[in-house]
């Protein structure tokens, strides 16, 4: 099953790594006390044109990661142009003020770096991981396309073809294509901005014009609607000077009004079945709406997610996979296209699995209900809570210490773009630790009612494994 999301290219392999931001003395098991958590050194400021800038130095490897995040995602796109936010992401590689088609990518790869972009609910990002000595070149190139694009009708037609192939690769020619990351938001949400087809109607993708692209760029790709994050090995004074030289000269532009993307409270269970003609086994997905991002309830829900759904030690894995044997895995979480921090608006907590036809969806739902009821009726045990916090602590170290800096750049960008405060990254662990066990039960009672859930049933359209070649 592919949870591919939408991105410029699937070919990029990021080296997964650990090397660090916050150097901590090692302790043996006996002396280890309560952890102080991560402490990423962060410099945050804004240019006169409104561009937010985040710098995070880490000289442990001679590489630097540059991310430019625009506050426009697939939620807010024109109603007759579904999929446009993603198509536009592709157009950002088709030529700009001083760089022709392919020249941006040649500049990055030819200097020893990797580049990609992706479109998510509330942002579109562009990032490069490059040798440290090429930082100025990359800043110049990102500023060049923030300044303006130069796209031909040929290039637009070319990328319409590429994007339609991407939709076929990931959705239309795949069993379980878009299940449930594309299909669930359309069932669980009421507001069109949250409930439309994010990959886009192929007819809408075909209908896109250069004029649409110009309007989209003018509306959403302004310096005041973006954040630039630089993380890795660089000299801060020099980086600030380059950012001033290449980005501060871009004129400020008016900000677009933001539409109302709120969701009404859900008061009755929703159920939908659909046939996937390519799938050989049934699928089941269930989703609930999560508490507002950044609230204490949201952090409590994050712990609830760890306890119920994350990892093979989680309650639902143990019940559905290990004990019942419904499937080889149960997957999901808050925000299937990211994490509990990198979005800005209504969000779903989704869990899903593929099972056998001899198991009725309602018996799986009954087991899920029982695990949820356990937490609703009594707070999690201290052991469960400790494990959840330990998993979070290790994830944060991994994020802060990864030498590709990509996860770090992503969180810094989200906290700058949506909260105007990237230093929140250093308080994640303390926010989780402030959650009392009783609050986890309260949140489970308030947000995980049966009347608040949406149930998506995928029926297999393919009777068996199919013809053997």
């Amino acid at each position: 099953m592919r949870n591919a999301g939408l991105r410029f290219w699937s070919g990029l392999l990021i080296a997964v790594a650990m090397s660090g931001c916050s150097i901590q003395p090692l302790k043996s098991a006996e002396e280890s006390a309560l952890p102080s958590g991560i402490n990423v050194p962060i410099e945050y400021y804004k240019l006169g044109n409104g561009l937010k800038v985040v710098l995070a130095q880490d000289a442990s490897a001679p590489t630097v990661t540059v991310g430019v995040y625009y506050r426009i995602g697939m939620r807010i796109e024109p109603r007759d142009r579904t999929g446009f936010a993603h198509l536009f992401e592709h157009l950002m590689f088709q030529g700009s003020t001083n760089l022709g088609k392919m020249e941006f990518i040649r500049l990055v790869e030819g200097n020893g770096g990797v580049v990609n972009g992706s479109t998510r609910f509330d942002f579109t990002n562009y990032f490069e991981i490059v040798p440290a000595h090429t930082l100025e070149t990359i800043l110049w190139a990102e500023a060049d396309r923030m300044k303006g694009l130069a796209i031909t009708q040929d290039n637009l037609a070319n990328q319409q073809g590429v994007v339609k192939n991407e939709v076929n690769d990931n959705v239309l020619n795949q069993p379980y294509g878009g299940f449930p990351w594309l299909s669930m938001p359309q069932l669980a949400n009421e507001n069109w901005y949250n409930a439309h087809n994010f990959y886009g109607d192929l007819a809408h993708i075909d209908a896109a014009t250069l004029e649409d692209a110009r309007a989209f760029f003018d509306t959403y790709y302004s310096p005041g609607n973006a954040v630039l994050v630089v993380a890795g090995d660089f000299d801060a004074t020099q980086a600030r000077a380059w950012i001033g030289k290449y980005f501060a000269v871009l004129p400020a532009r008016a900000q677009a009004a933001r539409p109302d993307i709120s969701e009404p409270p859900q008061t009755a269970e929703k159920r939908k079945s659909y046939v996937d003609p390519l799938a050989p086994r049934p699928g089941l997905a269930v989703a609930w709406h999560v508490p507002g991002r950044g609230t204490p309830e949201h952090y409590a829900f994050g712990l609830l997610d760890e306890i119920l759904l994350q990892g093979e030690d989680s309650a639902l894995w143990q019940k559905l996979v290990q004990q019942r044997g419904y499937s080889s895995s149960v997957a999901g979480g808050i925000n299937l296209l990211g994490n509990m921090f990198n979005y800005d608006g209504p969000m779903l907590w989704t869990l899903y699995l593929v099972h056998d036809p001899n198991v009725a969806p309602d018996s799986i739902l009954a087991d899920i209900d029982a695990e949820i009821a356990r937490i609703q009726n009594a707070p999690p045990t201290q052991a469960e809570l400790d494990r959840a916090l330990t998993k979070i602590r290790a994830e944060l170290y991994d994020l802060a210490g990864s030498s590709d800096h990509f996860g770090l750049v992503d969180l810094l960008a989200a906290f700058a773009l949506f909260d105007d405060d990237p230093t929140r990254i250093n308080r994640i662990e303390s926010e989780f630790r402030a959650v009392k066990p009783g609050m986890i039960s309260e949140v489970a009672r308030a947000y995980l009612q049966r009347s608040q859930r949406s149930v998506l049933i995928l029926e297999p359209g393919r009777t068996q494994g199919g013809s053997q070649p």
Binding site: L26, A150, V162, N168, G311, D313
Partner: protein, 461 residues
């Protein structure tokens, strides 16, 4: 309609395009890069230990790599996968749920995976739990309980996964390609036959384990930050008295080098899944280096010739790419592309055209230099992480490569000449030796593919 507009070639700039285009500022001076140090030792029973001390957050990875996998399963396809999955079902002292909870309590999750020739059991944890992680990995490897009660559930999971795999174009194409390239070798059987999984019982699982797991096949890598003395003591205690077991299996496959074409029908599919394989020098060969560079230039990067042609010029495909896939004593150049159905034959023609162009004329020095800088940059990114180095070392150990493979990597790569790249294309990337599989809507694509001049002599197995 779209085509009409395209012919008009409108240039609509959102801003005025610069009259005299500004050039990008030149990069500065490359910084020094030192590979993280690795130290290896071998215990009396044959277990190798490698320590990589690198990184600055308090995390450590303990990864045991055992030289077994599908290569050892004979005709019992996926028996290796089933046996390795069963390792997670508990040890003589820990039920399955305890393993998962113990791993989570250290900040990690146990990852267990069977591969073609290397099977891994590993975990990344908070540094303070390094010794306990070593104990857990050793316990899972050495003391599996193989509970018969859990086998039906595990087999049902594999049966379900198999059924899903048979519905995915990628798996269907991969299975056919493996069969055509490797024939009766275990690597030629990518998916089990119908009903085959049901014939495995706990005795076959235990038998596979007993035959193939032991000290002489095991190499434990640790990477990250940890207390060296404590961890080394724990590893020696945990692995030092394990039975020696058999040496690694020496069974390199012989890849097909005759032109074969297999078309598999997926009625109504909007795309064709194209796979091409041809034998190339393996990692132990002196020619491996120029071969990987040839691949990077031909189809291995976004700016490579085939990728640029099929995607950015023609719009036929989203992510066409090529790679080198290696076993011990064997390597293939593999081309993958998912292509809009109607352009299947045209895309194949473009791939052949790019290969023939490279065979005809060496690349310009500038083009090759850009590819070399890309590869050098990736080398630094990959080896800036302890886990990246760990992966490289496991690769070198499988292929019997000396330390110089890594330490002289950048120098060796920069030494490759344009003529060497063309020589590789002429000697190895030969259409007449290729195995080609296409999964797609045959009624719309088969005739035009079969009519391609390069495929006229193809066997149609």
């Amino acid at each position: 309609m779209r085509r009409l507009f395209a012919l008009a070639l409108t240039l609509l700039a959102f801003i005025a395009v610069a009259e005299n285009r500004e050039l990008p500022p030149a990069p500065g001076k490359p910084r020094d890069f030192a590979l993280p140090a690795a130290e290896t030792m071998t215990l009396a029973n044959g277990v190798s230990l490698t320590f990589i001390d690198y990184g600055s957050v308090p995390l450590v990875t303990v990864l045991a790599v055992v030289r077994t996998g599908n290569i050892d399963e004979g005709e019992s396809t996926w028996l290796a996968d089933v046996a390795v999955e069963m390792l997670k079902e508990g040890t003589t002292t820990r039920p399955a749920g305890n393993i998962a909870r113990a791993a989570a309590g250290m900040g990690g999750s146990l990852s267990v995976a069977a591969g073609a020739e290397q099977t891994s059991v590993g975990i990344s944890v908070l540094s303070e739990h390094a010794a306990a992680a070593a104990d857990l990995v050793a316990d899972v490897l050495r003391n599996p309980r193989f509970p018969e009660s859990e086998l039906p559930r595990v087999l049902a999971n594999f049966e379900r996964n198999l059924s899903v795999a048979r519905s995915e174009p990628d798996s269907v194409a991969g299975e056919a390609l493996a069969k055509l390239v490797y024939g009766d070798h275990p690597f030629g059987r990518a998916l089990p036959a119908a009903g085959q999984l049901g014939t495995y019982d706990i005795a076959s699982v235990r038998g596979f384990y007993e035959r193939n797991f032991g000290a002489r096949r095991t190499h434990v890598y640790v990477a990250g930050r940890y207390d060296r003395a404590t961890l080394e003591t724990a590893l020696r205690r945990a692995f030092g008295d394990w039975r020696e077991g058999a040496p690694p299996t020496d069974l390199p496959p012989k890849a097909s080098d005759v032109l074969q074409l297999r078309l598999i029908d997926r009625p109504g599919a909007p795309q064709s899944s194209l796979r091409i394989a041809v034998p190339v020098p393996d990692p132990a060969s002196a020619l491996y280096f120029p071969t990987t560079l040839t691949n990077s230039l031909l189809g291995g990067t976004f700016t490579s010739r085939i990728t640029t042609n099929l995607r950015e010029d023609k719009g036929y495909s989203y992510s066409p790419s090529s790679s080198i896939s290696a076993h011990r004593g064997d390597a293939l150049w593999i081309m993958n592309a998912e292509i809009t159905g109607e352009h299947t034959a045209a895309a194949l023609t473009e791939i052949f055209r790019e290969i023939e162009r490279l065979q005809r004329e060496p690349p310009a020095a500038g083009e090759l230099d850009a590819i070399k800088r890309y590869r050098a940059g990736l080398f630094v990114i990959r080896n800036s992480s302890p886990e990246g180095v760990l992966g490289q070392l496991a690769f070198m150990d499988l292929h019997g490569l000396p330390p110089e493979f890594l330490t002289r990597w950048v120098a060796n790569m920069y030494a490759v000449t344009p003529q060497q790249v063309t020589d590789i294309a002429q000697r190895f990337i030969l259409p007449a030796h290729m195995t080609i599989v296409i999964v797609g809507d045959l009624k719309t694509i088969a005739d035009s593919v079969r009519a391609l001049p390069q495929l006229r002599e193809a066997q149609m197995p």
